[in-house]
C-alpha cells in the first residue's frame, strides 16, 4: 500500500501543528466559534448531539495492522472504547474532547493518517472497491488512481471552496462494488480493445434529497488524462455550480440544469486546454504510484483445498461463514474475507478496541498486513489463504465478528441517525437492530438470499437508502418518528433509485412492514435463484403495495 514520502509527512505534520494552535487559541478565547468552526471542520471535527465527533480519513478504505491498532488505541484512550465505520470507508469517534483532538491527530500522523477533507465543501475521501487488488473479476487495481486523486486534491487551493462537497469513487471491475454511479464523479477503470487502461467517466450522480444516477460522459479516457479531465470537470462545476442555494449546489443539479450534452461539451472544451499540460500523467509517475500497490507475493497454498473441505464438513458454522463471507480471489488458493460488523441485533459499523486489535492481528498473521473498510460498513481481509481460513474464523468468533451474513438481509447499512447526529430527524440504528433480530435465523436469511436494506435517519441519505433494495428513510412527522420505504434501489453496475412505496410506518410497525415485503417476495419469486431485486424489477411495486396497504392502495 501507499507509504508517505517526506512531502506527505511534512504536509500532515504542518496541518497538525496549525490545528493544535487553532484549538489552543479557541480554548483561550482568542478566536470565536464563527472563526473556529470552519477550521475544525477542515480537520474532521463536528459537533453532534452528545459531544464532538471526529471523522478520520481512510483513503480508499485501505489500512494496515499498525494503523488499525492505532485506531483501537485512540478509541480506548480518547473515546469510549469503540469507533463507527462509515459508508465513506472512514471511521468516526463519537465522544472526543475538543481539547484532545490535537493529540489524536498527532497519534494519527505517526501512522500516516489524518482527518483532512473529511468535512466541508472540498473533495472528500476518494473511495474505491473494497476488494481492490484481490477480486477475481478485477481488470486492474483502482487504488493507484484513487491515490493520485488524493494527492492531487489534498489542500488543492482551487478546490478548497467548492459550491458543495464533492465525492469521487473508483472501481476496477465490471461488477461495481463502489457505487460509482451515485457519486459526483464515478470512474470505471477498464481496458479498451487495444488493451490500454482508461476510464469510463460518470458525472453528476448522488443521493441526498435529490437522488440522481450519474451520466456517462466519456466511455474511455486514457489513464494519462485522469487529472486533466477531472480538472476540466471540476472547473466547469466550480465556475457554474450554484452557490445561492446549498440544496442545489451539487454537481448533479448543474448537470441536470445544463443538460448532459451541453455539460459534456463544456467539459471537453475545457479539457482541450488542459490535455497537454503538466496535468498529463507521465508513465513513470503512474508506475511509481502503482508500485506501492503491487500485489503481495502470494505463495501457492494448495493444501488449503483439502483442509477447507474437511473443516467445513466438521463445522457447519464455519461452512456457512465461508459460503457467505468468503469471495473469490484472483489466486485460486486464496479468498477475500468479509468481516461482518453486523452481528444480529448489533449496531451496524461499530467495532470496539478489542475487535479492532484482533482484526489487526489477523491481518498481520494471515492477511499480508492489509485491511479494508467497505462502504457497506464491514471490514475486509483481502488476501487470506484457504489453509488459514479456519484460524481466522475461530479468532473472529471469539470477539463476535464471525456473523455469516455478508450481503444478506441482516447486513444492513445504517447511518448514526438521531442517536448521535445533529442533522437527523429519526433514529436509524434501532430500526436496523430490530430488523436484524426479526431475521436472525441464518436458514431464513439464506432462503431469502441477497437483499440489501439501507437506512437513513434524514434526507441527507448517509445510510444510502435510495440505493437499498429495501430503503428506509426516517422522517419527523408531528413530532414523532416515521419511516418511509423505498423499493428497487441498487448501487451496483445497474444502478437504480428506489421508488417510494406509499405512506410511512411508525417505529413499532416498520419491521412488520419489511417482513411483509420479504414474504411477498418469497411468494412471488419465480425460483430460489431470482433475487429480491430481480423479482421487483420483473413485477414492479403493485404486489408489495397491496400486501402493505391492502385493497385501498389500488385507489390511491
Amino acid at each position: 500500500m501507499y507509504r508517505y514520502d517526506e512531502f506527505d509527512h511534512d504536509f500532515v505534520r504542518q496541518r497538525v501543528a496549525q490545528y493544535s494552535d487553532q484549538v489552543e487559541r479557541r480554548l483561550s478565547g482568542e478566536i470565536d466559534e464563527t472563526a473556529f468552526k470552519p477550521l475544525r471542520l477542515m480537520n474532521g471535527v463536528y459537533l453532534q448531539l452528545h459531544a464532538y465527533m471526529l471523522r478520520v480519513a481512510i483513503p480508499y478504505g485501505t489500512l494496515n495492522s499498525r494503523q488499525m491498532r492505532r485506531l483501537a488505541r485512540i478509541a480506548r484512550d480518547y473515546d469510549k472504547g469503540y469507533g463507527h465505520f462509515t459508508t465513506r470507508q472512514n471511521i468516526q469517534y463519537n465522544w472526543p474532547k475538543l481539547s484532545d483532538t490535537p493529540a489524536i491527530l498527532e497519534e494519527l500522523a505517526e501512522v500516516e493518517m489524518h482527518a483532512i477533507q473529511t468535512s466541508g465543501n472540498c473533495i472528500r475521501n476518494v473511495s474505491a472497491d473494497h476488494f481492490a487488488g484481490a477480486a477475481a473479476d478485477e481488470v486492474a487495481d483502482p487504488r493507484p488512481y484513487a491515490e493520485i486523486l488524493r494527492q492531487w486534491s489534498s489542500n488543492h487551493p482551487e478546490y478548497s471552496f467548492l459550491p458543495r462537497k464533492f465525492k469521487i469513487a473508483v472501481t476496477g471491475a465490471e461488477r461495481d462494488r463502489a457505487a460509482i454511479q451515485v457519486h459526483d464523479i464515478g470512474l470505471h477503470l477498464k481496458r479498451n480493445e487495444a488493451g490500454a487502461l482508461g476510464f469510463a467517466v460518470y458525472v453528476g450522480g448522488g443521493q441526498g434529497r435529490t437522488p440522481v444516477i450519474a451520466k456517462k460522459i466519456r466511455d474511455f479516457l486514457p489513464e494519462a488524462d485522469l487529472l486533466s479531465y477531472t480538472t476540466a470537470i471540476m472547473r466547469v462545476y466550480n465556475l457554474n455550480g450554484r452557490r445561492d442555494n446549498k440544496y442545489k449546489a451539487r454537481i448533479k443539479i448543474l448537470v441536470n440544469e445544463t443538460g448532459e450534452e451541453e455539460f459534456t461539451r463544456q467539459v471537453e472544451a475545457e479539457w482541450q486546454k488542459l490535455k497537454e499540460t503538466e496535468l498529463k500523467l507521465p508513465q513513470d509517475d503512474l508506475q511509481a504510484i502503482a508500485d506501492y500497490f503491487a500485489p503481495p507475493s502470494l505463495q501457492d497454498r494448495p493444501e488449503g483445498w483439502g483442509l477447507l473441505a474437511a473443516a467445513k464438513k466438521a463445522d457447519a458454522g464455519f461452512a456457512a461463514w465461508v459460503h457467505q463471507n468468503v469471495t473469490p480471489h484472483r489466486h485460486p488458493d486464496y479468498g477475500v474475507v468479509t468481516i461482518s460488523l453486523k452481528p444480529i441485533g448489533g449496531i451496524p459499523g461499530d467495532a470496539n478496541d478489542t475487535q479492532m486489535e484482533v482484526v489487526a492481528d489477523l491481518a498481520e498473521k494471515f492477511g499480508h498486513d492489509e485491511i479494508r473498510v467497505s462502504h457497506e460498513q464491514n471490514l475486509v481481509l483481502p488476501h487470506v489463504a484457504f489453509a488459514d481460513l479456519e484460524h481466522v474464523y475461530k479468532a473472529l468468533l471469539e470477539v463476535e465478528l464471525a456473523t455469516a451474513n455478508a450481503g444478506l438481509v441482516t447486513d444492513i447499512i445504517a447511518c448514526p441517525g438521531l442517536d448521535y447526529c445533529a442533522l437527523a430527524n429519526a433514529r436509524s440504528i434501532p430500526v436496523a437492530q430490530e430488523i436484524s433480530e426479526r431475521f436472525a435465523s441464518l436458514e431464513r436469511q439464506q432462503e431469502i438470499g441477497e437483499l440489501k436494506i439501507k437506512i437513513s435517519g434524514c434526507i441527507n441519505a448517509c445510510g444510502h437508502h435510495h440505493v437499498g433494495h429495501i430503503g428506509i428513510l426516517g422522517v419527523e412527522k408531528k413530532g414523532a418518528e416515521l419511516y418511509q420505504i423505498t423499493l428497487g434501489g441498487s448501487g451496483d453496475e445497474n444502478t437504480s433509485i428506489g421508488q417510494i412505496i406509499g405512506r410511512g410506518f411508525e417505529p413499532e410497525k416498520i419491521t412488520d412492514a419489511v417482513e411483509t415485503i420479504v414474504e411477498t417476495y418469497l411468494g412471488l419469486r419465480e425460483n430460489a435463484d431470482e433475487t429480491f431485486l430481480e423479482a421487483y424489477r420483473r413485477v414492479g411495486p403493485a404486489p408489495f403495495k397491496e400486501a402493505l396497504y391492502g385493497e385501498t392502495s389500488k385507489a390511491a
Partner: protein
C-alpha cells in the same frame, strides 16, 4: 410552553443545561425552568453571554414538560441529548445520572 437553556460545553462538547445557580450542569435534572416570557428572555441572554464568554456552543432554548418533578424535553432529539444514545444505555447521561428516559 416552559423552556430550559441547553448547549454543548466548548472544551469537550458534552451536552449541558443552565442551572438555577448559574452553572452549566451535565444533567437536565436541575436545569432552571423559564416559566414565563421574562424568565425565558433572561435565559436567552444568559446563553448569549456564555457563548460570548466561550464557555459553550450551540446554545438553544428547548421546550420541556415536568412530570412528577422531573424535567422532560418535548422533542425526541432533546430527550436523546438529555439521556444518551438509545442504543447504548451504558453511555451518556443515562449511565451517569439516572435510568434511561430517552425513548
Amino acid at each position: 410552553m416552559n423552556k430550559v437553556l441547553t448547549a454543548n460545553r466548548l472544551t469537550d462538547g458534552i451536552a449541558v443545561w443552565l442551572g438555577a445557580n448559574g452553572q452549566w450542569l451535565e444533567s437536565i435534572d436541575n436545569a432552571l425552568i423559564g416559566r414565563h416570557q421574562e424568565a425565558v428572555d433572561a435565559l436567552e441572554e444568559a446563553g448569549k453571554s456564555a457563548f460570548n464568554d466561550n464557555l459553550v456552543v450551540d446554545v438553544d432554548l428547548i421546550d420541556v414538560e415536568e412530570i412528577d418533578g422531573d424535567i422532560f424535553p418535548i422533542r425526541l432529539r432533546e430527550r436523546i441529548r438529555a439521556a444518551g444514545p438509545t442504543i447504548r444505555t451504558d453511555l451518556g447521561k443515562q449511565s451517569e445520572f439516572k435510568p434511561a428516559t430517552a425513548a
